[in-house]
């Protein structure tokens, strides 16, 4: 490092207390484990992104000219599995949540540091299984593993991939369990529930879902493997089973799982909106409880994935109504964020650009979700590109925007360095434009009837597909940039200082990067969350 004579003597922090690979692989420091997770998920994001690129290249022309139909199936399966299980689900919780929750609640670490490290190893073990499946030719069932295709007919590496998902699920459970206990038992004196940052509330809701939902998909996957290996009939109708039962068990987890992906992102957005409007979040309690409401209601709607799967139409009706109900707490958040912006002193820093982008894209994703939850509409657009566009608006437009916004917001805390403001704004812009160009045409395509999961399509769909592929190129570029300038900043970035944004919260009161035990003095909390008003008064005085 290029320390000049004027810099004060080296302060010890979590990055420089210890060097060498062993000090990382055996660490029990939540901050280091967050970095380990960051490396792993970035790796799989890149691989999953390459798969997506191949899909978009294939779809640039109506003919199936780049890859065979079977290869195409393996591509979109790998893309879905990697992005969902290895990237999105762990993304914000295991990286930002891991790093920040103890800091935000004034604790020295998570409640179970060894379990935390263990979860990273379990994650990698599961990832290894999935990579092995890829190397042996991949899986062609789609990320949903629907039976009896997956359990009886598929001629690909179903078991390896499914077991990979099973194992990764346990790492997710470990993280969730750790967060729940930590938030209950490790808060600093004075830090009551209603003084917690909304980021923590969102992660609490997320953890509930991880703990309550993941085991069910685990057992469902185990049963698929058992049926495939032992030829015992659980889901295969030819063996006396019922395939719809698999769909029930799968979506009991996987609908709530979409909230595992979006809730943490909502938590990030609350922090960003407050910090860059210099205001307390409007209706703090509503936003806090809406996280819990989403976690609970999210469990009551999974049947909207089974509208056309021979589910009884009475059950379909109930699930349809309940699905619309879950949009209410989501809308509560959106309205409260916008109300916070009103008369705030807004500054257009990079993280804020992501936050505002999130709000717009999430609204589109959520509203189309409500459309899909309408029984009659879903009959028409189920399994079309309309669904693909819907969930990408939420998972990419929402969850990943939140993740990147959070990463840019806390990067100075994590590394102690600032990245290039210019390039980060360019990247945010590219991502927003590229994303919309990629996925908006897919709403139109789906509505016109283009089914998902095919490698060829009728010629009249080509223009919209070319637009989508072009957008994907821009989006890819947008994702590449942060990879470069963030990496760059770790060495050459300016030193950021402890609180570069002038933000409110315990994590900004300790030094950047924080010491191993997070705080030199155990903090005591005496104020509400986002108390920007008093911060301003203090400055004036």
């Amino acid at each position: 490092m290029s320390d000049t004579v004027t810099t004060p003597p080296r302060r010890k922090h979590y990055l420089n207390v210890d060097y060498g690979i062993k000090s990382w692989l055996l660490t029990q420091d939540h901050k280091r484990i967050a970095i380990l997770y960051l490396i792993s998920i970035t790796f799989f994001f890149i691989i999953g992104g390459v798969m997506a690129a191949l899909i978009r290249v294939e779809l640039a022309t109506p003919l199936g000219d780049l890859v065979e139909a079977d290869t195409y199936n393996r591509l979109f399966t790998a893309h879905g599995v990697l992005m969902v299980f290895l990237f999105l689900i762990p993304s914000i919780p295991a990286v930002l949540g891991n790093f920040l929750i103890p800091l935000m609640i004034g604790a020295k670490d998570l409640a179970f540091p060894k379990l935390n490290l263990g979860s990273w190893y379990v994650y990698n073990l599961g990832a290894l299984l999935m990579v092995a499946a890829l190397l042996r030719g991949g899986t062609d069932t789609g990320w949903t593993f629907y039976t009896p295709y997956s359990s009886t007919f598929a001629d690909s590496e179903v078991i390896l991939t499914a077991l990979g998902a099973f194992v990764v699920g346990f790492s997710s459970i470990m993280t969730g369990l750790n967060f729940i206990v930590t938030i209950h038992r490790m808060r600093a004196p004075g830090l009551t529930w209603f003084r917690l940052p909304l980021f923590v509330w969102a992660h609490y809701g997320t953890s509930l879902i991880q703990v309550l939902g993941t085991p069910v998909v685990a057992i469902a996957i185990l049963l698929v493997a058992a049926e495939r290996l032992l030829h015992i009939g659980i889901f295969d109708p030819a063996l006396g089973g019922d395939p719809v039962l698999f769909q029930h068990l799968f979506w009991f987890y996987s609908h709530p799982a979409v909230y595992i992906m979006i809730l943490p992102s909502m938590g990030v957005i609350s922090e960003l909106i407050a910090a860059f409007s210099r205001k307390r979040i409007f209706g703090y309690k509503f936003v806090a409880f809406s996280s819990l409401a989403i976690a609970v209601l999210g469990f009551l709607v999974w049947g909207h994935h089974l509208f056309v799967s021979s589910q009884s139409i009475y059950a379909g009706l109930i699930f349809s109504v309940l699905s619309m109900l879950v949009a209410v707490p989501s809308a509560v958040k959106v309205f409260n964020w916008t109300a916070t912006l009103y008369q705030g002193s807004i500054s257009w820093q990079t993280p804020m650009i992501y936050a505002l982008g999130f709000i717009g894209l999430f609204v589109i994703g959520g509203l189309t979700g409500t459309m899909l939850a309408t029984l009659g509409i879903d009959m028409h657009v189920h399994d079309t590109y309309f669904v693909v566009a819907h969930f990408h608006y939420i998972m990419v437009g929402g969850a990943i925007m939140g993740y990147l916004g959070g990463l840019h917001f806390w990067w100075p805390k994590i590394t102690g360095r600032m990245y290039s403001v210019f390039w980060s704004k360019i990247a945010a812009g590219l991502i927003f434009v590229g994303f919309n160009l990629t996925f908006f045409p897919q709403f139109l395509l789906g509505y016109m009837g283009m089914p998902r999961r095919y490698h060829a399509y009728p010629e009249e769909f080509q223009i919209l597909n070319v637009l989508s592929s072009a957008g994907a190129t821009i989006l890819g570029l947008g994702y590449l940039l942060p990879l470069i300038y963030l990496f760059w900043s770790m060495r050459y970035g300016e030193r950021a200082g402890d609180n570069p944004w002038g933000a409110y919260g315990l994590e900004w009161e300790t030094s950047s990067p924080p010491p191993t035990l997070n705080f030199d003095e155990p903090p005591v909390v005496t104020t509400e969350a986002y108390d920007y008003l008093s911060l301003r008064e203090k400055k004036l005085a």
């Binding site: 206990v181 038992r185 057992i219 015992i232 009939g233 006396g240 035990l517």
Partner: protein, 220 residues
């Protein structure tokens, strides 16, 4: 690390007090057990779904199980839960040898349970009641009966696997107890494995009537 020296033996560096450490461990264990409830829950759901459609076949299936061995095993497992509870009591009151003795008794009863299970399983093998290509059922309702045995083996198998894991952990805890690792302030491991063991007992408390008892009154 700073502050380490002021910390009592057995208190991890990131906790402030034994109370905080114990409450975290107790809560963590319970949250883990909730995941176990949902894990077994998937199988219980499959049972409810399939039984709702083919009650008669499930009644036939339950008649094939050995109700005497099943009842004995229920008693054995409840007994092991008692010894486990007493082991925790011994840890709370600081009786080192009693902890070891009660844990060994628990292991013994657990082993007895598994032994009886093996006897039952092998009888099913001989009668070709193990699902898969070798399954043979001459009587009526063959598909439903096979489904019953699918679920029987999956549910009791998963339960038995949990017991094997539990016995393994109990062995380690017994050794630690013998070495004097636990005190009235710090015996979270004993308490934790105790909770796990009782949970496995509860699973059996439901499996026993579902598999062995329901439909007994129906003549087949």
């Amino acid at each position: 690390m700073q502050g380490e020296s002021s910390h009592a033996f057995g208190l991890a560096h990131h906790f402030d007090s034994f109370d905080q450490q114990r409450e975290a461990s107790y809560l963590g264990m319970w949250v883990f057990l909730v995941t176990e409830i949902m894990f077994f829950g998937g199988l219980f759901t499959a049972y409810v779904v399939y039984r709702s459609g083919q009650g008669a076949a499930f009644a036939i299936g339950s008649h094939e199980l050995d109700i005497v061995l099943g009842s004995i095993n229920t008693a054995v497992l409840i007994g092991s839960s008692l010894t486990m509870a007493l082991a925790v009591w011994a840890a709370q009151t600081g009786r080192r040898k009693a902890i070891v003795a009660f844990i060994l008794a628990t292991i013994l009863l657990g082993g007895l349970f598994l032994g009886i299970k093996v006897v039952e399983y092998s009888a099913k093998f001989e009668h070709h009641l193990v699902p898969g290509p070798n399954f043979h059922w001459q009587g009526p309702e063959a598909p439903g009966v096979e489904m019953f045995f699918n679920l029987y083996f999956l549910m009791t198998g998963l339960h038995a696997a949990h017991m094997v894991i539990g016995i393994g952990i109990l062995l380690v805890v017994a050794i630690l107890a013998w070495r004097g690792s636990f005190s009235p302030e710090n015996h979270n491991l004993v308490e934790g494995i105790g909770l796990y063991w009782h949970f496995v007992d509860i699973v059996w408390i439901f499996l026993f009537p579902l598999l062995y008892l329901l439909g007994r009154n129906i003549q087949v």
